[in-house]
Symmetry: none
Subunit: 256 residues, 2 copies
Amino acid sequence: MPNPTAAMLVIGDEILSGRTRDSNLHYLARALTDHGIDLREARVVADDAAAITGALRSLSGRHDHVFTSGGIGPTHDDITADCVAAAFEVPIDVREDARALLADHYAQRGTELNEARLRMARIPEGAGLIENPVSIAPGFTLRNVHVMAGVPSIFEAMLASLLPRLTGGAPLLSQTLPVLRGEGDIAGPLGALAARHPELSFGSYPFVSNGVHGSNVVVRGQDAAAVNAAMSELCALFPGAVEGAQGGAAPGGAMK
Amino acid sequence: MPNPTAAMLVIGDEILSGRTRDSNLHYLARALTDHGIDLREARVVADDAAAITGALRSLSGRHDHVFTSGGIGPTHDDITADCVAAAFEVPIDVREDARALLADHYAQRGTELNEARLRMARIPEGAGLIENPVSIAPGFTLRNVHVMAGVPSIFEAMLASLLPRLTGGAPLLSQTLPVLRGEGDIAGPLGALAARHPELSFGSYPFVSNGVHGSNVVVRGQDAAAVNAAMSELCALFPGAVEGAQGGAAPGGAMK
């Protein structure tokens, strides 16, 4: 059975202006690979309602899951929740359980739960909350869209709350063979190997180390025996060009 | 008059699996912001022809410029050039000037220009080449799509070749001097040289060749006499550190 598929939607002017470098895509990509969910595409859009709702509709229709980051804070340009509601044509308002979480949190700190902070309790009708152990204001899941914060520490904490609830498939296994030859020498035999193993994916990532050109050849797949078999063929194709090859297909964790 | 708009398309399984963290989006975002081009959206897709051509058509129709990274190497999964040709329905084949660049480059290194490497000279009909001072294999511009490498050092060097041309006006001339010294040695004198020639731009793109650290220093400008003068100064600054320096400022064609 194929793994569930996913897309990510990163929301925020600051990413597109270069002011901030996004880290959530890379974090999510690794987490989903370990969990057996295939991240198929990602988009970055500005804090613009038409852009956000358009991307949400497009991505949610094509994938099992959509993960968003950004735009759920208290300021006027945090419009993600409203855009999710609009994309699915459901009402949105302050929700009592979310309001209670915020009221308790700010009361403990002697901070006023003002109108701006209350915006963070606006949740589209029918959504489930995603716990935020860092700063309390929750994310939410509406249908197949999981709405999370843009601040990396909060995004990561929300994902830790959410991910165990999602059904994953077989984790993607991978093995890497460093070959101390230029990519142009590797390409021919590698392409032929890839053609013989359509169930696996093969990548080649060039490097230069101490003046020597090489490539990390990566074999990925869900079947450990198939990955191992391809790895043996790969070692035979490039004998003696190997240093520090990893033995044995390991689960996703080996992809680091 | 509003700024031109742009989108970025990042191509590569390795980004979506979490194996590699993309850095080109952030780099491009900053560069475009400095240049007065508005980056409106970005997408990341896998090495999948339908995903790439679909994104190219969608983005190129909505923005003044589309910048791509990834998928232009010699291996079987490098399919970006073919997808660009398909998206615009133009033929693609090995192009003579691109082939000559590669033939010269590999001949100097005693490396065979085999079938895999020749793939990097496949350029869609009607495209203009984008210079690659790092590893020679060129990027290209077809209509409003600028196709560049995924390796960050090469992406950044290609962008440095491309971006000044997007303002229009007189054609940009460029010369490259390979200097067999570390970039840290080059930086001081090069900075002083650049300060004496505010009408030109100077770039430095480090490489390691046979264990020796070096840099391709690139001089760019619109005035051939000024580029030639700066090149003479550069040769005097780094005597004996020069191999295969190009003499004489050439028009656009020199921007390889």
